[in-house]
């Protein structure tokens, strides 16, 4: 249903678009129509800290003064949250096209690159994951899973669903909780699935949104070859960033599979799933809309639908929700810029978000993204709050309530 082949308007831009030829592209014509209203700067979570807000960047680009922008570090502060793009009254593809191009050129000119970010990118290039773990251990988490997790290269047959596990959900402890939960849910629903195991490499969304188009293309080339090795009907991933990459960027390279994120994917099965959710959790939950599933793809109800299916769960909303949700700060490379932001005296967005979650009085901050688990759990350690709060992925809550026959 989300195939960009059927919806070409979802793709980002023509390959080979750069800052020099941007204004000649259809996306550039929209930029020429900018009315300098400042919505982008006003909604930007780090707009306060940018010397050149998206609005000013457009003004400078149109005046041929973009070099000045590229000398500043403004774009390093963009966390690719899509807020400016979704609210832009002129429909300018800010987060999809303009800002990554500016970010790319900013970083090429930067005297020094933030070390964490550099390591992550180098690791992703060498090991296929930003943490620099051995690619041979990518499927090691499956040993922890109580439910069977078939691997493509081993089962040697076509499957319905290729589950693209992704990095955080393969290597990090709390991410593995997410993966084990998904494995249980898939098994309980009788979904015919398999994973790529050690053959999988990072989808590269953060690379792309960070600026690193070369890295992104290297990963795209690699993953496309692997996909072609196997037969499957659709790709499902628990990582909104991989989902984003497959949905809007891979089609530029000829990718045309049906793509789902686990949250909307499982929501399609909610009728089948609900009778199996027998263990009441008795929790008040607030749901955080991730940028790539929410704002960028428009899946706002699906996470809530799944939570409502769990007996005993009561949903409360944060002040900023749905399209107005506040980013966890992890996108566009923000995941590896915490130290850099700290040096610049910038508030951590995860902390801003967690304050809103705490204000709801919920027991659980539910998320649909493996990045957010880390960011919000960390933020909860630093933001004082009286009532205990935990961060759980929607799939973890579902699995907790699940009683297998």
């Amino acid at each position: 249903m989300i195939s960009t082949v059927e919806h070409p308007e979802l793709t980002v831009c023509k390959l080979g678009t750069n800052l020099d030829n941007l204004l000649e592209q259809p996306e550039g014509q929209r930029i020429l129509s900018c009315i300098q209203c400042g919505t982008c700067a006003g909604t930007c979570p780090y707009g306060d800290y940018m010397e050149y807000s998206p609005r000013k960047i457009i003004a400078m680009l149109r005046r041929g003064m973009i070099d000045e922008v590229l000398q500043s570090d403004s774009m390093l502060k963009c966390v690719a949250c899509y807020s400016c793009m979704i609210k832009c009254p002129r429909g300018i593809k800010l987060s999809d096209v303009l800002l990554p191009l500016v970010k790319e050129q900013t970083l090429i000119r930067a005297k020094e690159m933030p070390a964490e970010l550099q390591h992550s990118l180098q690791n992703t290039l060498r090991y296929g994951n930003p943490m620099g773990e051995s690619s041979r251990k990518r499927a090691a988490w499956t040993a922890k899973s109580k439910a069977p997790v078939p691997i493509m290269s081993e089962i040697k047959r076509p499957v319905d669903v290729l589950w693209f596990v992704e990095c955080y959900t393969s290597f990090y402890n709390r991410g593995q909780d997410n993966s084990c939960a998904v494995a249980r849910l898939f098994n309980a629903l009788g979904i015919d699935f398999a994973i790529l195991g050690n053959e999988e490499k990072c989808a590269g969304d953060c690379g792309q949104l960070t600026w690193e188009s070369g890295l992104f293309e290297t990963l795209t080339d690699y993953n496309m070859v692997i996909f072609k090795k196997y037969k499957f009907n659709k790709i499902v991933t628990g990582d909104p960033h991989a989902f984003n990459a497959f949905r809007i960027r891979y089609p530029m390279y000829g990718f045309d599979y049906e793509v789902w994120h686990t949250t909307p994917f499982l929501a399609e099965y909610v009728d089948k799933l609900k009778p199996k959710l027998k263990k009441p959790l008795n929790l008040t939950v607030t749901y955080h809309d991730s940028c790539c599933i929410g704002r960028r793809a428009g899946f706002y109800d699906e996470g809530r639908t799944l939570l409502k299916a769990i007996p005993g769960v009561k949903i409360v909303e944060m002040v900023h929700n749905r399209m107005n949700s506040i980013c966890c700060g992890g996108g566009g490379g923000g995941m590896w810029l915490d130290t850099y932001f700290k040096q610049k005296d910038m508030e951590r967005l995860s902390e801003r978000r967690v304050k809103e979650a705490i204000a709801t009085g919920a027991d659980v901050l539910a998320v649909s993204c493996p990045y957010e688990i880390y960011r919000f759990e960390d933020a909860l350690k630093t933001i004082p709050h009286e009532k205990p709060m935990v961060v759980r992925d929607v799939v973890e809550l579902l699995a907790e309530s699940l009683v297998e026959e």
């Binding site: 209203c37 400042g38 006003g42 107005n324 304050k355 204000a359």
Partner: protein
């Protein structure tokens, strides 16, 4: 009377291509075209001229007809929809039947849409050649005249409908004014004061409303809808449904006693006129100066109408007047009118559609129309402008362009919002002494005295922030006191502002009213992609529709302020008047007729005609077209298997010669 050339007289064609200044000549090599056409058979004169539509241009045609005994004229210029009549007249003045003329569109369909000179010139030659071939076959035709019904229907009783109705009624014409609400007055009746003069809307509107109510030439049907339209210019047959208001209009005196006596002691139901800010009873009059000043009983909330088990205290209160009738049924009225004016108005943008402005979530985020009601002395708060929790606001934000200039909602500028936002800023500041922040994208104050009004409001100390608001949220430092933060970039300073306020007014834009879509369909009006009704020509026919005798005025055509609405309404009234006052109307002679000798009597054509203009002569066993009913679409012509139907002006041979003229091989140079 035009002279008719003698049959078999050799065809002598005069061809003229217009430069239209540089509009045409800068793209098309008009010299080359004229030269090429001059060599075609039967072409006697072929010229190019700077402005064919000018007096000397028309004179050129007349003189050439006399000088060269021309009997056919072809002009290549702009769209025939613009100047066909002009050149037909010139042809007639030269002494020819005006239909010995053919026009070629080389401006809108050529020079303005192409830039390759060679290709455009070639296209002009081919189009001209087609016209030259076609015009040879033209026949002399007479313009038809049809009688006209002198009454006018006006749909929509806002200020546009009211004004148009009064203009026509005062000129002695009978007007039917149909309004779907229980009262006329429209949006204007809800406003407090009007920009830039700050005179109160009610003071200028209600006298006009009253005049409509008592005018002998106006039949006012409120609480009514148009449900069916038939006929054509001069003779539109319209069916109007009068919904039951369960009060007999002729007997009700508007004394309000039934309302006082209603079994509901206190008003309980959401008051539509006050946008739900106040309450009403099941029996109500929308506001004090409503016209007609007659009670209406709402079937959805009246106990009697819902259950039949009410004590009917209202009936008792009405007493001898016996105006209340719970058995009232809807009534269908059929009327015939010569012309129609559509003034169905607009709808305000539903601010819920912009999620980040929190309308419907935060009680102190209100729309501009709600602000008007709160400011209005006759409104639900008697003009006290307070927050929903009853506080006197100290800081207020007014947000311009809500649902305007936005690809995600409505693309257009709603034109009145800047000015009414300035007005609201002035009124709110005056009433509450609150500090007012107007957030705008561009300040648009065109028109007489409007910029001066902007100056005045600025000097009063309203804070203008050039920046579109990106977020509105409850003040996190403030617990649950209802204070809001408005966040926007001040684009002139390049700074992000977070302004704490007590209230936010969303200046909602104007959009086409989806409820008038069925009106549009019934009257066969065109609309743009946005849904505004389309005028026949944006400059030269701004209140005409594409249908003869149907006019549009006010905001159903596009956003506009009260002065422009009234001006348009007056213009529409005058246009309608110019049709109905003639007594009869000239009709393009493009009707179809049947060549009796060739008709096989197969009846294929009969069910095709949407106007039932074709009947069957059972004696002769032939179909017959009633010329008076035929509207000249040509659908039957295309269907006739024996080719016995001919459409004047669009004869098969004429069209085929046109096709041929377009496609013959061409040798340029």
């Amino acid at each position: 009377m035009p002279t008719t050339p003698i049959k078999n007289e050799p065809v002598k064609i005069g061809y003229y291509i217009c430069h239209c200044g540089t509009n045409i000549a800068s793209v098309i090599d008009v010299d080359a075209v004229a030269k090429y056409i001059s060599k075609l058979p039967n072409v006697v004169v072929s010229r190019n001229y700077k402005y064919m539509c000018s007096d000397p241009g028309q004179k050129l045609i007349e003189d050439d007809i006399a000088k060269y005994q021309l009997n056919r004229i072809v002009v290549a210029a702009c769209s025939p929809l613009l100047h066909e009549t002009t050149f037909r007249n010139a042809t007639r003045k030269g002494g020819l039947n005006p239909f010995y003329f053919q026009m070629v569109n080389v401006r809108e369909h050529n020079a303005w849409v192409h830039s390759d000179r060679e290709q455009a010139t070639r296209k002009a030659i081919e189009l001209s050649r087609a016209a030259v071939e076609r015009v040879s076959l033209h026949k002399p035709l007479e313009i038809r005249k049809l009688p006209i019904n002198p009454n006018v229907l006006i749909v929509g009783g806002g200020i546009a409908g009211i004004h148009a109705a009064l203009v026509l009624a005062n000129a002695g014409k009978h007007v039917y004014l149909v309004e779907r609400e229980p009262t006329i007055g429209g949006h204007m009746a809800k406003f407090d004061k009007t920009f830039p003069t700050l005179d109160c809307a009610a003071c200028v509107l209600t006298p006009k409303m009253a005049a409509v109510g008592k005018h002998p030439n106006i039949t006012l049907w409120t609480y009514s809808d148009v449900v069916k339209v038939d006929g054509y210019v001069g003779n539109y047959k319209v069916t109007v449904r009068r919904r039951p208001r369960y009060v007999i209009e002729e007997l009700c005196t508007g004394c309000l006693e039934c309302i006082d006596a209603c079994i509901y002691k206190e008003p309980k139901f959401s008051d539509e006129f006050n946008l739900g800010l106040g309450k009403r009873k099941p029996v109500y009059i929308p506001f004090a100066q409503a016209i007609p000043s007659i009670a209406t009983i709402d079937a959805n909330t009246c106990i009697e109408l819902k259950t039949g088990k009410c004590k009917k205290t209202c009936v008792d209160a009405c007493g001898d007047r016996k105006a209340i009738d719970f058995k009232q049924k809807e009534e269908l009225k059929e009327i015939t009118v010569g012309a129609v004016i559509i003034t169905t108005g607009f709808k305000t943008f539903d601010a819920r559609r912009i999620l980040y402005y929190g309308y419907g979530v935060y009680p102190n985020v209100i729309t501009s129309l709600e602000a008007e009601r709160l400011l209005n002395a006759a409104g639900p708060t008697s003009g006290e402008f307070l927050t929903r929790d009853g506080r006197k606001p100290k800081q207020i934000a007014i947000i311009h362009c809500v649902g305007s200039r936005d690809e995600n909602t409505n693309k257009w500028c709603s034109r009145v919002c800047c000015l009414y936002s300035l007005k609201l800023a002035h009124l709110i500041h005056e009433r509450t002494e609150a500090e007012v922040f107007n957030f705008y994208i561009d300040m648009r104050t065109p028109g007489k005295s409007m910029e001066e009004f902007y100056n005045r409001v600025a000097e009063e100390g309203v804070n203008f922030v050039r920046g579109r608001v990106a977020d509105i949220y409850p003040d996190p430092s403030d617990g649950s006191t209802g204070h809001l933060v408005v966040q926007a970039e001040d684009t002139l300073l390049g700074k992000i502002l977070k302004v704490p306020v007590d209230m936010v007014v969303l200046s909602v834009g104007l959009e086409p009213d989806p409820a008038s879509e069925n009106i549009r369909k019934m009257f066969n009006l065109s609309c743009g992609s946005e849904g505004w009704f389309l005028e026949r020509h944006p400059k030269l026919a701004p209140v005409s529709s594409f249908n003869e005798g149907i006019f549009i005025a006010g905001c159903c055509q596009g956003p506009k302020d009260i002065p422009d609405t009234v001006a348009q309404a007056g213009a529409a009234a005058a246009e309608a008047f110019s049709i109905i006052d003639l007594g009869n109307i000239e009709i393009e002679p493009n009707t179809a007729y049947i060549i009796e000798s060739e008709c096989s009597g197969c009846k294929s054509c009969i069910p095709l005609c949407p106007y039932s203009a074709i009947s069957f002569d059972t004696e002769k066993h032939k179909s017959v077209i009633n010329e008076a009913l035929c509207k000249g679409c040509g659908t039957c012509v295309a269907a006739c298997p024996s080719g016995s139907i001919v459409q004047n002006l669009f004869e098969d041979e004429e069209i085929i010669s046109e096709i041929n003229g377009l496609l013959e091989p061409i040798e340029v140079k």
